[in-house]
Symmetry: C2
Subunit: 436 residues, 2 copies
């Protein structure tokens, strides 16, 4: 039987999970592929000894042992972050090893350099685990949906943000309280900025867009808004109108330009994305041939991410034993076809909006707001103003008809500068039910 | 550039859809694969001429032209039914052609013969389109979830049945009325038996089980109940208790035996499967490593099914140009590993139930029912009896605690034989919210 030997860098949560998946599924993988997948060496600077069940696997603090080992076919990088992960991946590639990673920050920010180096050495780069953990999303885009022009992608791709919004929705709690609780339970990092401000979501959107469009993209091209300004009152108003608030990664294909944005969104309760709760992820595609497709599952965690890492290992292993390396190009398109594409400026967007203004409760306020919106051609669908007894400031909630983002930006800048405004207006875009 | 040439048998809905997908996506497929995918010949006995956009493609009434053409690499069978589809597939295989089909009846009933013939000639069999149309489900099972023991599968895999149940749920209409409407709109066949009685769902379950477990299975092993006895009153009671009624294909993995059943099921509204409405399909897997995964999309239709057929064509084409035929075995496991497995007898199931008895409204009826259930150890969670003025018969609805199917079968046989029973008891199994 043929044997594929693996070197693993990083024995933290996902690293040890991957080792466990390889160990627990060894027999199944052999029955499926006719090959043995053997974890030969683990490199980790802080691990003193591998757990009992991994006896026979070499542990080293010197990662170069892995690069120098001619028996190792595939190097798996699971330390995360940009450096030294990037250097390690490039060294592995230079040594002629295939590489697998779960590192979304690295792939989204330095993917180009890594993929070019891999192409030059004719080795493969697997990164299924970098987007939505265990969900076989990258493979679906590269292979299952190969015969589609993807018209739009809308994804809940950050479990922490989705957990926080779900808890706020189900229990009416405030953002800060839920975040603290999530941190205590290990569902959120000590510094939650990447998750709650949409940056991690943008990393994943960048990778998805590369795959979907065959394009290069920089993180700066993505307009990013997080969820930290969302209050229970917004979630309650959304509920009353039949919506849920979700942090979405969105891209739409306009042919000569493509949208790239991350922001909280009002999703109709009848849309599948509204049903994705807690730490789960889900990505909704609209393909011109296949129509709507949604993939759902756990986007993080030791074993789900390990499942995706091992799927990549097996995929590459099958190519090695069949002499079919790069049978499917790493980015889904032939390297020469990967090109930059224009990004739709956010100001060109068109849609309906939810606004929550924070204003002093005095005469003339609503007239001033309505007048300003009218001046910019923004048509109001509903207004809700509820008296509050606990503060001097009251919320005014407005649902608009379809309008232009540029008009919204100008109108809100003007309204927020008015002396009765006590805080910046919270703006949430509304996903129309008929939208792909 | 390398060229893969295709022969297509059958130019009906899916056949013409496949031809359209190949035509519309030709440039994308070339950019993705570096190959040209060319539809060379169409065989159809009733088509007089191909539409204008397909000029240059040969049309023949003699299918043997395709088998005899040494230039053709892949034969696509899209005529449906058992014969002559089976003969055509076997002839294509005998001629050394790779084959692709969307024919679930054929694959589920005669798959073994076809896969053995293909293995003997070292050609591939693609059948992604045979289960859930455009959803890349077979690929996910064979590759993306390769490193998982699948613990359970629960699927809404028949769009017609799901459309009927959704319409009954949303508009409170009766089964017969919705069915008639669905037939008028082309969503249901003139003879709807396969769809509404769960047979089509069982075909797909058989294929899924083969993939999941690496087993051979006969349709006779699957216990099948359809949806024709479901009434609006059942759907209304379900709603009151926070459930939706769905026709599910279910299998659970007990190691030495596996469940195989198709029946209407009460699904909690909070479960993702409850959100799958209209003609959509969705399949929920629980993998031991990845946890819960759900794939959702259109399970039928000209272009979605064409999308899946072309994904198979591209997959095989990539293997041809890379000299990697059967890189992934057709059934996901090495042929020698495909084995029969014991099926859990339905009587061994354990769970909660919804019963609707139809009884005469007279004293002692409830006591007789409750007494019989008690005799078999079936514990009642709720009883609802509502007076009806339009008929002599009244419904008695009972929700049970967890119990054994064998007890249920015995108790209901006894109750249905009682002289106050005016109709057979309707029995719907309840999916527990915590179930995989």
């Amino acid at each position: 039987m043929k044997t594929i030997r693996i070197g693993l860098i990083g024995f933290g949560t996902v690293g040890s999970g991957t080792a466990e998946v390889l160990r627990l599924q060894a027999d199944r993988l052999r029955k499926r592929t006719g090959c043995a997948f053997v974890l030969k060496t683990v490199a980790d600077i802080s691990c003193q000894a591998l757990p009992e069940q991994f006896k026979g696997i070499r542990l080293t603090k010197d990662v170069n042992e892995i690069f120098a080992d001619p028996e190792i076919d595939i190097v798996v990088e699971l330390i995360g972050g940009i450096e030294p992960a990037k250097t390690f991946l490039l060294k592995a590639i230079a040594a002629g090893k295939h590489v697998v990673t779960a590192n979304k920050a690295l792939i989204s920010q330095h993917g180009r350099e890594i993929f070019e180096a891999a192409a030059a050495k004719n080795v493969e780069v697997g990164f299924e685990a970098s987007v939505c953990g265990g969900i076989p999303l990258i493979k679906a885009l590269k292979e299952g949906l190969v015969a589609n022009r993807i018209e739009s992608v809308m994804g809940i791709v950050n479990g922490t943000a989705n957990y926080i919004l779900s808890q706020m929705t189900d229990f009416g709690k405030g953002f800060a309280e839920v975040l603290k609780d999530a941190q205590a339970k290990g569902f959120a990092e000590a510094d939650p900025t990447y998750d709650v401000e949409g940056i991690d979501t943008a990393h994943k959107l960048a990778i998805i867009m590369t795959m979907v469009y065959g394009m290069t993209i920089s993180l700066d091209d993505i307009s990013i808004e997080g969820i930290s300004s969302i209050k229970p009152i917004d979630i309650a108003f959304a509920k009353d109108f039949g919506y849920r608030i979700k942090l979405l990664a969105i891209t739409r294909n306009h042919g000569d330009h493509v949208e790239a944005r991350v922001h909280p969104t009002l999703v109709p309760e009848t849309h599948m994305l509204a049903s994705i709760n807690g730490a789960f992820n889900g990505v909704h595609f609209h393909g011109d041939m296949v129509g709507d497709v949604l993939l759902y599952g756990l986007g993080a965690g030791k074993m789900p991410t390990g499942s995706a890492v091992v799927a990549d290992i097996v995929d590459i292993g099958r190519n090695i034993v069949n002499g079919a390396v790069n049978r499917v190009p790493s980015l889904g398109y032939q390297p020469a076809e990967i090109k930059p594409r224009a990004i739709t400026p956010l100001s060109k967007l068109h849609g309906s909006y939810y606004f929550r203004m924070s204003v002093l409760d005095k005469p003339g306020v609503l007239a001033a707001i309505a007048g300003t919106l009218g001046k910019y051609g923004i048509s109001i669908e509903s207004v809700i103003q509820k008296r509050r007894h606990d503060t001097a400031s009251v919320p005014v909630v407005i649902w608009t008809h379809e309008t232009d983002e540029s008009a919204v930006q100008q109108a809100l800048a003007e309204i927020d500068a008015m002396d009765f405004c006590t805080d910046k207006t919270v703006k949430v875009r509304i996903l129309e039910d008929q939208e792909g």
